[in-house]
């Protein structure tokens, strides 16, 4: 990064000419984001087919080390970006949410591919979550099935642009807030929905009972 990029434009004239190559006047946000955007460490976390394209992106031909992202961490504690690479199933969802909760702030989520973005070809499946954004806040969606390595790199560059625009004041505003972990019941249950689920199942039971009595009376008649 040259000092021209680092300098805040409004202060540029205030630096004496002989010092312009060595001194920069800038905001904390700018230099902080400069560091963050060039060391976004993804979590080593593959769910399905997209993970293979993610591996290819990390390999020699595409090589996202060029963007400071080659350090894939297997531990969520050391990762900045969760690339949700593949279909999220209901059985896997509690673990995905738990991993997200374990990541340190500031953290980002990239939904890679059709499945993570909205369920993809498997959307109608009984064990498939139709989009990870139903449970986690997603920063970048990358279309494709699977997205090519070029598309993944483009998505990560978009994430870098997002990082550039953030202020240090807002980056930690969500720190420490955990997302309640879904529970595996007869179907996946979001703890925030319990009241709604009870209402729904009661209504369903009533409707079934009504249908049964209607059938009975029809039979006796």
């Amino acid at each position: 990064m040259s000092t021209d990029d680092l300098n805040s434009p409004e202060y540029k004239d205030k630096i004496p000419e002989e010092l312009q190559g060595t001194v920069a006047i800038t905001t904390l946000d700018r230099i902080y984001n400069w560091g963050r955007r060039n060391s976004l460490w993804p979590m080593m976390f593959g769910l399905a087919c997209c993970a293979i394209e993610m591996i290819c992106t990390a390999a020699a031909r595409f090589d996202f080390a060029r963007f400071g992202m080659e350090v894939m961490r297997s531990s969520p504690r050391q990762a900045d970006v969760m690339i949700v690479a593949g279909t999220v199933t209901k059985k896997m969802l509690p673990q995905v949410v738990r991993l997200y909760n374990q990541m340190a702030d500031p953290k980002y989520v990239v939904a890679m591919g059709a499945c993570a973005s909205g369920g993809g070809p498997f959307k109608e499946g009984y064990n498939v979550v139709s989009g990870i954004d139903k449970y986690l806040p997603v920063d970048v969606y990358i279309p494709g099935c699977p997205p090519t390595p070029q598309a993944l790199i483009y998505g990560l560059m978009k994430l870098q642009q997002k990082v550039d625009k953030q202020s240090i004041k807002e980056v930690y505003s969500n720190a420490g807030k955990e997302i309640p972990i879904p529970v595996l019941g007869p179907d996946i249950m979001d703890p925030r929905d319990y009241e709604k689920i009870r209402e729904y199942t009661l209504k369903k039971a009533e409707a079934e009972a009504q249908a049964a009595t209607a059938a009975e009376s029809a039979q006796s008649a």
Binding site: C49, A51, A59, T89, F122
Partner: protein, 580 residues
């Protein structure tokens, strides 16, 4: 197999089991219908007297209109030949079938799957739990009267979308805006999740069963589903005594994407792109297996050029799968990513070929019933030529030079995870795992499909059955695949690539069909049942990765924790296929 042999076999079976065994006489069906009471004796006769020692596939079919549940078994001889199909029919309301685990241990996971998805009880199964879904899930989803939360109609194309082409979000029709549904009267406050699972997630479970000679206790350690060594979302619950593995239980289903339920709603052709996503490292082989199964029912045969293109693509797939597997296997041994980089470099070149012919690097959707979708252009042909004659042989030799005699590979591979031949057969292991144990069984040779009987190649076989042999066998197979491609490139004729006109909707005659290919992971089979309509009535995948895992516990017992990772890497699983 000649007519004579079949006749005597049939005579023998029918005379030994009068009344309880009958030939299946439904139109388009094959094999025998066995009474549930006689199943164990029948299976024992097959294995011990007739030589059908390899139980390839076990699955269930829900015949809702007839009120029957059917369990279908495919047994083979490891010396080669056609399958012997036998079925058990039980009432749908209370389906109970004796378990075959005592005779064919390879039936273990497959019977659990049939219990999970179809609700068929297998009497005498040692561990009849759900395998793909979790304990507590409501219903058995592959039953024909079970509807998923986004249910619209029995079959595609849905009237709401076709022919007008209207689209809507399925979420908008669901009261929760999500893909969920709950049974009537269910109260979430009173729900207690399956505790055995929760305990393991605490990280450490203790078993108070000290060994006789030492006052130690065993601990349970949980590996996965988020673990860098599991090649995806696979989980192993390991019981340890110190560092030594006492027992291991694989837990799967974290990528269960409901291929079979979706496949039974789809039209026949719609399933082709879904097969790509089964074993996403070898899409061409998956296409091949499904195309074979449906072509058997349709009675079409692809033209010569298409047959050659199929072989070239299937073998390229095998090469890229095996070199990727070798790279990842070295990763598991601790050589982090450097050998993989060499492997992925070659794989990229093969993916370029796939992209040029099919339009996509990974999800090729290239095969059609009666041919392939597109011809290979001249310049791509030249590229394949260069790969097969120049680049790949050289690069395989290079990998061989770097890895095969590496001290680490030998020290960590030799004598680790041994699976003897008789156990490999009993556990229904397939592909490289089976052949590394000294069983020269390759579907391309044992029951040639396509035009594989024309090529000159060796069935790679190694005899130690350890991790190192499973590595070597992949090297051998890559060399054999290169040989096949070289011959195919010399022989390939000009001509059409499709029999008949390309069509979207196929009328498939009623009947059953089992198409199998030697995929890179092993025997990949597709069992389809047609009732004459535009959709498959049953669509089942015999996934080699899934069934190879049956032997995992056997291979790991007595080794150290670090060896689990290497042994798992040597089986080469892909979770898309394990969980489907």
């Amino acid at each position: 197999m000649s007519e004579q042999v079949v006749a005597t076999e049939q005579d023998l079976l029918l005379s030994r089991f009068p009344e309880v065994v009958k030939p299946d006489e439904r139109k388009g069906y094959d094999g025998y219908i066995v009474d549930a009471k006689a199943l164990l004796d029948f299976a024992k006769t097959l294995r011990d007297d007739l030589g059908y020692d390899y139980l390839s596939s076990v699955t269930g079919v829900d015949y809702l209109p007839e009120g029957k549940m059917e369990v279908v078994y495919h047994a083979y001889k490891t010396t080669g030949g056609a399958p012997l199909v036998f079925k058990v029919q039980v009432p749908r309301e209370n389906p109970v079938v004796p378990s075959l685990v005592s005779i064919y241990p390879g039936a273990d996971f497959q019977e659990r799957e049939a219990w999970d998805l179809l609700g068929i009880k297998f009497e005498g199964h040692p561990n009849l739990k759900r395998i793909l879904m979790w304990e507590g899930f409501h219903g058995h989803p592959l039953r024909k009267d079970w509807h998923e939360p986004y249910y619209e109609e029995e079959h595609k194309p849905y009237k709401s979308r076709w022919p007008e082409g209207k689209a809507f979000r399925a979420e908008d029709r669901n009261p929760f805006g999500k893909n969920v549904d709950y049974p009537a009267g269910f109260d979430p406050a009173k729900w207690t999740p399956d505790i055995s699972d929760a305990l393991i997630y605490e990280g450490l479970g203790r078993i108070d069963k000290p060994r006789d000679d030492l006052p130690t206790e065993q601990i349970i350690v949980n590996l996965g589903p988020q673990h860098p060594s599991t090649h995806g979302v696979f989980r192993m619950v390991v019981t340890l005594d110190g560092e030594t593995i006492v027992d291991l239980e694989p837990v799967m289903g974290y990528l269960h994407r409901n291929h079979e339920k979706i496949g039974e709603r789809n039209t026949w052709l719609m399933n082709m792109p879904f097969t790509d996503r089964l074993d996403y490292l070898s899409p061409m082989s998956n296409n091949f297996g499904y195309a074979l199964a449906v072509e058997k029912l349709l009675g079409v045969k692809p033209p010569e050029r298409a047959e050659y293109i199929r072989v070239i693509m299937a073998e390229l797939t095998r090469i890229q799968n095996h070199i990727f597997a070798i790279g990842m296997f070295l990763n598991d041994m601790g050589a982090f990513f450097t050998p993989s980089l060499y492997a992925i470099e070659e794989r990229e070149l093969i993916l370029d070929v796939f992209e040029a012919v099919a339009g996509s690097r990974m999800m090729v959707n290239y095969f059609r019933f009666g041919g392939v979708a597109r011809d290979i252009p001249e310049d791509v042909m030249k590229k394949i030529h260069d790969l097969a004659f120049e680049r790949l042989p050289r690069r395989i030799d290079e990998l061989d030079r770097y890895l095969t005699n590496s001290e680490i590979v030998r020290a960590r591979g030799e004598g680790v995870g041994v699976l003897p031949a008789e156990k490999a057969i009993a556990f229904s292991a397939a592909g490289p795992v089976l052949r590394a144990s000294g069983v020269p069984y390759d579907v391309r040779r044992a029951e040639p499909y396509g035009i594989y009987d024309r090529f000159d190649f060796d069935v790679a076989v190694r005899y130690h059955g350890d991790v190192y042999d499973r590595y070597l066998i992949r090297m051998d197979e890559v060399r054999q695949s290169i040989r096949i491609i070289q011959q195919a490139l010399k022989q390939i004729p000009e001509g059409p690539i499709m029999t008949g006109k390309p069509q979207y909707q196929h009328r498939v005659p009623p009947g059953e069909s089992y198409g199998r290919v030697e995929g890179p992971k092993g025997e990949l089979g597709f069992y389809v049942v047609s009732n004459g309509k535009g959709n498959p009535w049953r669509y089942h995948v015999r996934a080699p990765s899934f069934i190879n895992l049956t032997a995992l516990a056997e291979m790991t017992r007595g080794h150290k924790v670090a060896d689990i990772v290497v042994i798992l890497g040597s089986i080469d699983i892909v979770l898309g296929e394990v969980d489907r």
